[in-house]
Amino acid sequence: MDLSLETRQEDGHTIIEVGGEIDVYTAPKLRDKITELVSNGEYHLVIDMEKVDFLDSTGLGVLVGGLKKVRAHDGSMRLICNQERLLKIFRITGLAKVFAIHGSQADALAER
């Protein structure tokens, strides 16, 4: 399965709904999307990973790179993920403490 990316605006945030596999082949597409959004002045991003089937360290690296980009503009990046297999990857790499990870879009958008 390839990577799908859909973006929309809600409550002052740009939500990127990601589907499929984020790996060494597809991660650059996500990186390019985040770069494009930040270039357009969209600094508050929510990455919805509910439909992500696979995530490797290249994908994690893109998320870390994106977080650095938005923080450089006093922005934010929140993740939506409640799949245990993906959460385990964030825990192993210590990134569960770096990212704000929420269980739903409502929770992510409710955080102030």
């Binding site: 596999e21 790996d23 060494v24 082949y25 991660a27 650059p28 990186r31 770069t35 696979f54 490797d56 360290s57 290249t58 994690l60 690296g61 893109v62 870390v64 790179g65 650095k68 980009k69 297999r85 990857i89 192993i92 790499t93 210590g94």
Partner: protein, 140 residues
């Protein structure tokens, strides 16, 4: 091996070897094969997912992100054997940098962090210009 190609071989009655060009698009093929091998064990789907992630990660590290090397660099070989344990060896000519390129914007992850965290039995060896990542899991 031409770009975009993969080959498989059954070297022994208990093993399978997959060789791919260094094209990032082919790493997914390896993940599919190793998941099929892991499903032959008595372990559950969580185990299959762990093996798929670990071997995909190892393979991605040796393939690298640059598809332009596919035609010139040697292949990445993944050998899987079901014995007393599931044993997987991923090998390729060359070395893998221990740290990320500081100018890269795909960054922040120490290359071996995920593998070391995922696999109890994991080792890296470099010999004669070949890097070999070895890992194994109990079958029950």
């Amino acid at each position: 091996m031409p770009s975009g190609s993969a080959r498989t071989a059954t070297g022994t009655t208990t093993g399978i070897t997959v060789a791919i060009c260094r094209d990032p698009a082919l790493v997914r093929t390896v993940r599919l094969v190793v998941a099929a091998v892991a499903r032959r064990t008595p372990r559950d789907e969580e185990f299959v997912e762990e093996v798929r992630l670990a071997v995909g990660e190892a393979c991605a590290l040796l393939v690298g992100p640059d598809a332009s090397q596919a035609a010139t660099a040697g292949p990445v070989e993944v050998s899987m054997r079901l014995e007393d344990r599931l044993r997987v060896v991923v090998r390729a000519a060359g070395t893998v940098a221990a740290e990320d390129d500081p100018t890269s914007d795909i960054d922040g992850i120490e290359p071996w962090a995920l593998l070391r965290g995922l696999i109890e039995d994991f080792s890296i060896s470099r010999d004669d210009g070949v890097t070999e990542l070895s890992m194994s899991w109990p079958l029950g």
